[in-house]
Amino acid sequence: MSRPPAVELSGIWTRYREVVVHRDVNLVVEAGDVVGLVGGSGSGKTTLLREILGLLKPSAGTVKLFGEVLDRLDILERRAVRQRMGMLFQHGALFSALSVYDNIAFPLRELKGLDEDWIRQLVHLKLEMVELELHHGRLMPSELSGGMVKRVALARALALEPELLLLDEPTAGLDPDRSETFVRLIRQLQRELGFSVVMVTHDLDTLAGLSSKMAVLADQHIVAYGTPAEVMAVDHPFIQNFFCCERGLAALTKANS
């Protein structure tokens, strides 16, 4: 039995008063795909991500997650679908009143079926997955460095081992070295756990290091969608600008070699 696509956007329109952000956006993310969503500043990438999450409602069109339209489900079914996805927010969005340990344990405790012993082992497993030490669990979010916030947020997003992971600027604010390590970590976890990824990023290294497919958002819709090679072959001013100068080529050749 083939799995339904993780995300299926069809005919998405988004309007803020007179400003049209998305004009008939269509995008299908198959299970297991790692899709990098690229676009200029203000092109509505994050808005699209929020619409996939169900935090924003598009003006028109439907968002299907794992073959289901969220709006048509009741509260329990909707929660079940939401538990199959994880989100890594740009600034982590950790609960500032809870320690690192409690942040990661939070989604597990919300399931209300797991004993504290089991939760502790799972939290430790997640901490280890994102290469943090067990004693880091006692820290509060305000005591963490930028890179650690991202790791803890990733551990929390992966707490339920979701089938779909959404990343908003996963490497923004990290130095190149940290950012490379973080990309490697996500790629390794993606291979092991086999989740699909939709990722918004500006960073070419991140894009080249992670994505198996790219979607380019320009002129209010998806102008190109496919493997990196296919996308770069498309003749569009934004794509030419974004990839086809030296930095783009350097990043992509480095990733391919």
Partner: protein, 373 residues
């Protein structure tokens, strides 16, 4: 086989010595019948079994941990499992068995009292420090008048003073009606109708007006000040100000304290007037006391000193509320829990302090403004 969302459900079957597992062993799939699966696993674990994973399509770390716990943290003697699945369980197995952290020790009542007293002393120390800093700031501004935060002062005066006029008038008016109405019933029994003016005049101008406004302002402006400064700390705006060489007390605390100290006496006059108006209306309706007579008798019944006491209280309360609010705001730690705790503490301490200081006022001014017997 039944399925949800295309995933085969996890299942377990005992076949002689064999434990035959099948389906997708993930947290999401296990959850609806977790208790049942755990009972089955517990039954399977009691003797030498052959674990057959050949029908299993997927294991996540929750399931891996569950198996590892079922096996009492050691590999079963015989098992049939693919390398990929084994790897996932191996990772759960590699985790050291850490004992649960000891539960936090509950404090004895004596310790709780001690902690409370220490916290009160610590806050008093902070308030005195802030007060001292404000005096230094005022001295600095006297020498450098260009540093006067006039814009912030007027903005705070408007927010804490002018914007509070409608609500304080409404509350004052209603309280005035209530007191007047209740007193009227009692006074009529003794035929002492005329003393309603004395009761309303003295109690409202001297006591109720200032305290009422103080409670309202502590809830309205005090909490707002604490929350505002607290969020400015969380978002590092205070640090940004400091980086530009701007003193946080001079630019943030001083205008707030000065504005509230100015606005409060005015609010006290306004609220007392509204309360007297309410009292006058009720006295007219209940006792038939004409408003003209009420207004004519009021100055005779209430010595002028009471008004000064009311204004002095207003000034003092306003100063205290703003100082306490700023003190707690400046000590918010960067998390939501601390913000909420400090805002609560700010309002509660401000109201407590107001009532405490009001009692001190009452003792110090017991010889002033009251008809002596």
């Amino acid at each position: 086989m039944t399925s949800t969302g295309g995933h085969p459900l996890p299942s377990l079957r005992l076949d002689g010595r064999n434990v035959v597992l099948a389906g997708e062993w993930t947290l999401a799939a296990m959850l609806p019948r977790l208790a049942f699966l755990r009972t089955l696993l517990a039954q399977a674990a009691d003797s030498e079994r052959v674990w057959d994973f050949s029908g299993v399509t997927r294991i996540d770390s929750a399931a891996a941990t569950l198996f590892w716990r079922t096996w009492m943290r050691s590999w079963p003697a015989e098992m049939e499992i693919s390398a990929g699945l084994r790897h996932i369980i191996e990772r759960a197995a590699a985790l050291p068995d850490t004992p649960p952290p000891p539960p936090p020790r509950t404090k004895t009542p004596v310790e709780l009292v001690g902690v409370f007293i220490l916290r009160v002393l610590h806050n008093l120390y902070g308030l005195v420090t802030l007060f001292g800093q404000l005096i230094l700031d005022v001295l600095h501004i006297l020498r450098h008048p260009r540093d006067l935060p006039a814009l912030e002062f007027s903005a705070n005066l408007f927010k804490a003073g002018a914007m509070a006029l409608p609500v304080s008038a409404l509350v004052g008016f209603l309280i005035g009606i209530t007191i007047s109405y209740l007193s009227a019933i009692q006074l009529r029994m003794f035929g002492a109708d005329i003393f309603i003016i004395n009761i309303l005049g003295i109690s409202i101008i001297r006591e109720l007006g200032p305290v009422l406004v103080a409670v309202l302002v502590a809830g309205r402006s005090g909490s707002a000040m604490t929350a505002q400064i607290g969020v400015m700390r969380v978002t590092e705006e205070i640090d940004a100000l400091a980086t530009m060489g701007i003193s946080q007390t001079q630019r943030i605390v001083l205008p707030k304290v000065a504005a509230l100290a100015c606005a409060m006496p005015l609010l006290v006059v306004w609220t007392s007037a509204a309360a007297l108006l309410g009292g006058m209306v009720a006295a007219y309706l209940r006792l038939g006391l004409s408003p003209a007579f009420f207004l004519e008798s009021l100055p005779r019944a209430v010595p002028l000193a009471n008004l000064w006491i009311g204004l002095g209280k207003g000034l003092c309360f306003g100063f205290m509320i703003a100082l306490i609010a700023c003190h707690f705001g400046l000590h918010v730690r960067p998390n939501t829990e601390s913000l909420s705790a400090h805002t609560t503490a700010s309002v509660v301490s401000a109201i407590t302090m107001v009532i405490l200081v009001d009692a001190i006022f009452a003792i110090l001014t017991r010889q002033v403004g009251l008809p002596q017997l």
